[in-house]
């Protein structure tokens, strides 16, 4: 049984593409045949984050319009065997995405993939709506910051009303909260919303936090999904989330301040 997972947020710049790439790569590492699709038509970036920008020949819209076959458009990752990327078109208008066309591509992908990760564009326009339309599961990526939380709440409302599952009155999309750029030190100081606060306001199941990490930028600079980069906190946090997503009981990490020594406790922060 294949599953369509949309990575969405409403607000831009919160880490949707980073999360899509990291999550898809981690699913593939765990042995699942996974494809990650970029829905940001006109502003594609997943190819850069995945490090395959020079291998793009055909894209999602070419496939929808029959200008290229699906297996010509799929780019096979060179690092993990069962990971594929379907890039967005850079030249066309977002309105070119139709639910009918996207539905055909998703249906074809369901035949050969276990997980289909859809990287949504920001906003609530056509691209974002078609990225979520066929979802079985949703990762709502949120920064602990007021505008991101508010936008996430709007998106959660849309996942409950504007998806195929909602229209057909079948089981609702399973939503999961992912809090990115989390800084436990600032949370403890009272300068940042805590994961508990965000959970309480959005009232959806909590998948985990990704700690603020310099290595996230370093990984995207080099075109490596953070979960395939050298060992780092963000990568471990994403693997924890993937394991929870797959049904394992993994204790939450990276939520508390690391204990400090005697001197720094008194004289520095």
């Amino acid at each position: 049984m294949s599953k369509v997972v949309v990575v969405t947020s409403g607000k831009g710049g919160v880490g949707k593409t980073t999360t899509s790439a990291a999550f898809a790569a981690a699913l593939a590492v765990r042995g699942y045949k996974t494809v990650v699709i970029d829905f940001d038509v006109g502003l594609r970036n997943l190819d850069l984050v995945m490090g395959c920008e020079r291998r793009v020949v055909y894209d999602l819209l070419n496939v929808i319009h029959g200008e290229g076959a699906l297996n010509q458009a799929l780019i096979k990752d060179k690092r993990v065997g069962n990971l594929y990327i379907l890039p967005a078109s850079q030249t066309r208008d977002k309105d070119a995405l139709s639910n009918e066309g996207v539905g055909k591509v998703i249906e074809a992908l369901r035949q050969s993939f276990e997980y289909i990760v859809c990287d949504s564009p920001a906003g609530i326009e056509k691209g974002a709506m078609s990225a979520m339309y066929f979802a079985d599961e949703a990762l709502v990526v949120t920064n602990p910051e007021i505008s991101s939380v508010r936008d996430s709440d709007r998106i959660i409302g849309m996942l409950a009303s504007k998806t195929q599952r909602a229209e057909q009155d079948s089981d609702p999309v399973n939503v999961h909260l992912v809090v990115t750029r989390y800084d436990p030190v600032r949370v403890e100081r009272g300068d940042m919303l805590s994961a508990d606060d965000v959970c309480e306001i959005l009232a959806i199941p909590f998948l985990g936090v990704v700690p603020e990490s310099k290595l996230v930028l370093a990984a995207s600079n080099s075109g490596i999904p953070v979960t395939l980069a050298e060992d780092n906190d963000a990568s471990e946090a994403y693997f924890d989330m993937v394991d929870r997503f797959l049904g394992e009981d993994v204790p939450y990490r990276f939520m508390d301040v690391q204990k400090k020594g005697f001197f720094s406790r008194f004289f520095g922060s």
């Binding site: 508010r150 100081r189 805590s194 008194f266 922060s269």
Partner: protein
């Protein structure tokens, strides 16, 4: 927190301010998005009917749908200004 923070006066932390503001706006927006689509149309229709008899403008008419316990209440308020009298 270091030793010197201990002597500073306490002011409300920005995170708790953020949480409070979010709780208010989010519950407000959830209520609004759950109101049915026909409300604005109903409001214009009522406005036209009332205008047959009394001259009022759209700001004088307020229509809202609220939940009170188990029942939903459709509330219509038409305020008549001095100039609106026939």
């Amino acid at each position: 927190m270091n030793l010197f923070d201990f002597f500073r006066p306490k002011k409300p932390k920005s995170a708790s301010v953020a949480k409070e503001r979010l709780q208010i706006i989010v519950s407000h927006e959830r209520r609004r998005s759950s109101t049915p689509d026909f409300l604005p149309q109903l409001q214009t229709d009522i406005l036209q009917v009332v205008r047959k008899y009394i001259q009022i403008n759209e700001n004088q008419i307020k229509l809202s749908l609220d939940k009170r316990g188990d029942c939903e209440v459709l509330e219509l308020n038409i305020s008549l200004s001095e100039s609106g009298k026939p």
